[in-house]
Symmetry: C2
Subunit: 649 residues, 2 copies
């Protein structure tokens, strides 16, 4: 068992797999199947081109309701000298789509004729004895000639076409009622790991909820394959071998999830070696480097197997990097190519020089610039992928990129969604989440990065966001935010809009076991505090009150341990990492902590005037005036909405 993996570069890994697939005769469409032409053919991939069996129209068809005529019989008609044509000899009524009589070569629309009757009945334009016309018609006017749309034998659709609704129509129009498509590849997904617990079951420390198989299966289905999820298999070499063999009999591809690293219970590479050939163990990509590629099968090694790393971001990226192209190949379609967009990095990033580094990004347009803010790099942080608007690859051989670099973003969203994204950088408040929920139904996405109030104002000064949540107390005036705006944004015209009034206090474990009642308790030796990061409004508040109480920060245990949100502070207390932290009542209630109210503060939105007037932000400002949103916020513990929407400046 090796402790270290020797990662090989991605193109080399892909080339080894490609060579193995070619050797196994698995480099192209797996099988062709004939299916009936109906709406279920949507999304299937044509395995053979469609050549027209029939022309469309397959006869000369009237393009209008009107009268079929011989064009050369109409040449004398003028406005002054109208011509009369008798029904059924010189003219015949036709509905749109009716075939032309053999003798006719043109149609006069019903609105261009004058009906005639002989006798006293009123003339019915659809049933006259004759028609009068006042203009000649050219041959084939208002006629859809045979083959106007499709000529029999022509190419209607090439093989490889992913069928759209309109394609199904065209296939039918060309006289076909069945089609040859590639069979859907069957993909087995095998979650392994003694620590895994199926969703819906209770969990204890050390248990990991098994959901990679759901995400991988959904990927496979979305890419046109048929996914089959197998039950969780414990970390046992023989059981895993058995399960893989079973799966290999019924599937075209096996995804063996986790156990792909080099830990004491990582059996995947051994399993692949035992059942076939291990092609690759370790690829120079981040996240996701402990990927395994192999080919298994008793006589013929013709079933590819991918050892998918266990961290969710790694697992999903492994799907995108390795699984999607194989499925595309087997389906006979082009691999997925993302829509791309150029954007400017909001901050410097470092990157391992040896790896292709897949960096998730939040992307938004702020004024004239499209900005990309790097999200958490952790392979375990699935929310970084949920939030990601796109991804960029920092290639091998690069150690990072400076702030302001232009990167090529492969988008996960439609570019129009990027245009509808409001970027909020600043202090975190649970009401910002609720605002995001309200905006989602109004064609706006609110993406927020939590860097504290001061960080938000700095981001505004750099033109990196549309607004900042801020609750920075000025110790001298007792006012909020104004002084900091003057200092940090002297040149930028902004609006300061009151958002909520909220209570700050000490969060403590349920039952307050250490009997904490005020900030003075923070100096007790057995009390461990968990702090907010420097620049956070809550940190300013703490420092202000510590000073008032003459408590030196270095007498507070845990003062240097920082978290970035109220909820993260609450989680630290909940887990026993700390005994107390300053924060808001809602966060304490959310994690069932006790709360000792201390101060009432104002939380504002700082919005540059140019964005305040922009239609992007209009729905947000509207929501602040609405009773439903105000009620939702007012119902949270420790919040009041009296000031909501007030323009401070």
């Amino acid at each position: 068992m090796s402790v270290y993996l020797h990662d090989i570069p991605l193109p080399q890994a892909k080339a080894r797999l490609e060579a193995a697939l070619i050797a196994a005769g698995k480099a192209g469409v797996l099988e062709i199947e004939e299916i009936p032409l109906d709406e279920h053919a949507l999304g299937r991939v044509l395995a053979k081109p469609i050549w027209a069996k029939l022309s469309s129209p397959h006869y000369h068809a009237s393009a209008m309701d009107g009268y079929a005529v011989r064009s050369d019989s109409t040449s004398s008609a003028t406005p002054a000298n109208p011509l009369e044509l008798l029904i059924n000899s010189g003219a015949k009524y036709v509905d749109t789509g009716d075939p032309l009589p053999e003798w006719a070569d043109a149609v006069i629309p019903i609105e261009n004729i004058e009906p005639e009757t002989y006798g006293n009945q009123p003339a019915d334009p659809r049933n006259p004895a004759a028609i009068r016309i006042r203009a000649a018609v050219t041959p084939w006017s208002h006629v859809r000639t045979m083959g106007e749309d499709i000529v029999a034998t022509q190419l209607v659709l090439p093989a490889g076409q992913v069928l759209r609704p309109v394609d199904l129509g065209a296939i039918a129009a060309s006289g076909c009622d069945s089609l040859s498509v590639s069979r859907k590849p069957r993909v087995a997904i095998l979650p392994t790991g003694s620590e895994l617990v199926a969703i819906g079951l209770p969990v204890k420390a050390g248990d990991i909820i098994e959901y990679n198989s759901i995400a991988l299966a959904a990927q496979v289905e979305g890419w046109g394959g048929e996914a089959r999820r197998y039950p969780i298999t414990a970390d046992n070499f023989d059981t895993i071998c058995q399960r893989v063999q079973e799966a290999a009999r019924e599937n075209d591809l096996i995804l063996l999830n986790a156990g792909s690293s080099a830990g004491s219970e990582d059996f995947s590479s051994q399993v692949v070696s035992e059942l076939g050939e291990l092609l690759v163990h370790g690829v120079a990509v981040r996240p996701g480097h402990p990927v395994i590629l192999g080919m298994i099968g008793k006589e013929q090694r013709n079933i590819p197997i991918i050892g998918v790393p266990g961290y969710p971001v790694s697992a999903i990226l492994t799907g995108e990097i390795f699984v999607e192209p194989i499925l595309a190949r087997w389906l006979g379609r082009e691999p997925h190519t993302p829509v791309t967009l150029k954007a400017r990095l909001t901050r410097k990033v470092t990157s391992p020089a040896g790896d292709d580094d897949y960096m998730r990004l939040a992307v938004g347009r702020v004024g004239e610039q499209v900005l990309a803010a790097p999200l958490s790099r952790g392979a375990g942080v699935i929310t970084s992928l949920v939030r990601a608007d796109g991804i960029t690859v920092i290639p091998r051989g690069t150690q990072g990129l400076p702030a302001g670099s232009e990167v090529n973003v492969e988008l996960y969203r439609n570019p129009s969604e990027i245009e509808n994204t409001i970027l909020a950088i600043g202090s975190h408040d649970i009401c910002i989440d609720i605002l995001a929920q309200y905006l989602a139904s109004r064609n706006r996405r609110l993406t927020s990065a939590n860097v504290g109030s001061m960080g938000g104002l700095v981001a505004l000064s750099r033109g990196e966001c549309h607004l900042s949540g801020s609750h920075l107390l000025d110790p001298e005036s007792g006012e909020y935010n104004l002084k900091y705006i003057q200092q940090i944004l002297p040149e930028l015209p902004v609006k300061l809009i009151a958002f909520v009034g909220r209570q700050q206090g000490l969060m403590v474990a349920k039952g307050n076991p250490k009997g904490i009642t005020s900030l003075k308790d923070l100096t007790r030796q057995e009390v461990f505090y968990i702090n907010r990061q420097s620049g956070a409004g809550t940190r300013v508040l703490l420092d202000y009150h510590l000073k008032l109480l003459n408590i030196p920060p270095d007498t507070v245990r845990g003062y240097t341990h920082e978290e970035f949100t109220h909820l993260a502070v609450a989680a630290a207390i909940c887990s026993g990492r700390a005994d107390c932290g300053l924060g808001i009542a809602a966060a304490a209630q959310a994690l069932d902590l006790d709360f000792i109210p201390l101060y009432q503060e104002r939380y504002d939105l700082v919005i540059p005037v140019r964005f305040y007037r922009d239609k992007l932000l209009a729905p947000l400002l509207e929501i602040l005036t609405e009773a439903e949103f105000r009620k939702t916020v007012a119902n949270l513990p420790g919040y009041n909405v009296e000031i909501m929407g007030q323009e401070i400046i």
Copy 2:
């Protein structure tokens, strides 16, 4: 029964429908249903936001394989003064994902420790008696602290989210195992019309293959609804009423296809009036203006019904314009917004001033310019939609746009497909279709517009395409294309590549009923000729030989009747519109015509040097050298491939 419709503007039509939906309580999500969390939730729309029930990780987890330690116990370790920690008192082995012991607050990765044994056994890094370290560790290093990814109670996903694979993972990670989604709207699709014939059945003149229901059903499924296709109903008012009532009991929306105009057998508007309220009959959009909007239902008029026009392009656009937004509303998601692209019109277009005109476009990048070539405007030409790369709306009040206008194209394809599109404008040959088929599997799309050889050279001179198919005979030298290139493209460096040698001759009806043997027969009174358009190579050939034979064009009946492709000429003969036409053997064979061979000619590809060297065209030039393609072409009647790929200049 009215003969004319009074179209109302699109926004007004949509507003009437919106008001009716609001009045019927059908303006939002229809119903919410609880579904289990698995891969089948892919693509469903969240009806309620997901708030985390559990943090992720839900305990402090080791982020590496290594040793859990107390960080403050390591402070004295330096490279020179290593520190020893005893297993199970000062350090404990943990795999990635294992929970930290209560007393630990950091992990040292296994590669950073030195294992120690007491005695003579070799030290196993995973099972030593003690570990030696040479650096202090900071608190919480290599630990995924509880809530690092998700903190319980936080917003994981907003309502309205269309679920992606990664979202399913995040929902599971946050401790949920089921979710509330909007019920799929049920949509009835009712094809009506006595002229309709189900696919797969034989057709005679006047029969129309019923396929709109397939395309509409596929649209509905693709947009997240559940489509139900009903059998074809004949044009009978009572039967249609009955069928609509039946459908209204089981569905949320009814699409009544065709019969929406004002013809003698168009019952749709009467049916809607009979069963409920007719809101709109006729909308000012092209194609698709005879749309009907209504609300039906016995007591409560709460089932919307849309009378969908019969022409396939109209039907599909009606789906996009009216059906998709209703489904989006009922599903609680944003309506689809297409990716857009600016492009320059290749030619002038006219447009009815009273209508919003949906114009289909072929789009490609030629050099620095993105060009949009208008496709057929006919509502019956479904291939115009199949070929369309996008659509642009010429708004009401505009009578057209000049060539070179910049238009906003709503793309039907990924922009990267546009970048991989080879635009060919020029003469048509069936081998160009086959080339397109071969290119489809090499990440290239070949889009061809058939305007004749001369038209192709003119398009090249304007920078509107990447290549032209051309077979222009110079009557003086007997050479092909060279003289015309000198005349039309004096400044443009081009390559002239021989493509195929092909036989031209007269196509005549099977059995040659009029006994035609040479061009001299064209002067016979009972022989009707069908011509190619001026500028076509075949037209040049005809005119050249007519002149040689001293036959004045005005003695040829049908000389002025022009078609744009060989196949269209063949179709004209096949349908009896004409007796003969000059063209190629393959076209005659395709439609089972007789063929009188007359001349052998060369068909070349004219390619500007800058594109000849571009990677866009590389696969095309490669295919010309490949045995498989050559064989396919050589097997067509009247073709030889000896010269294929030769550089003439």
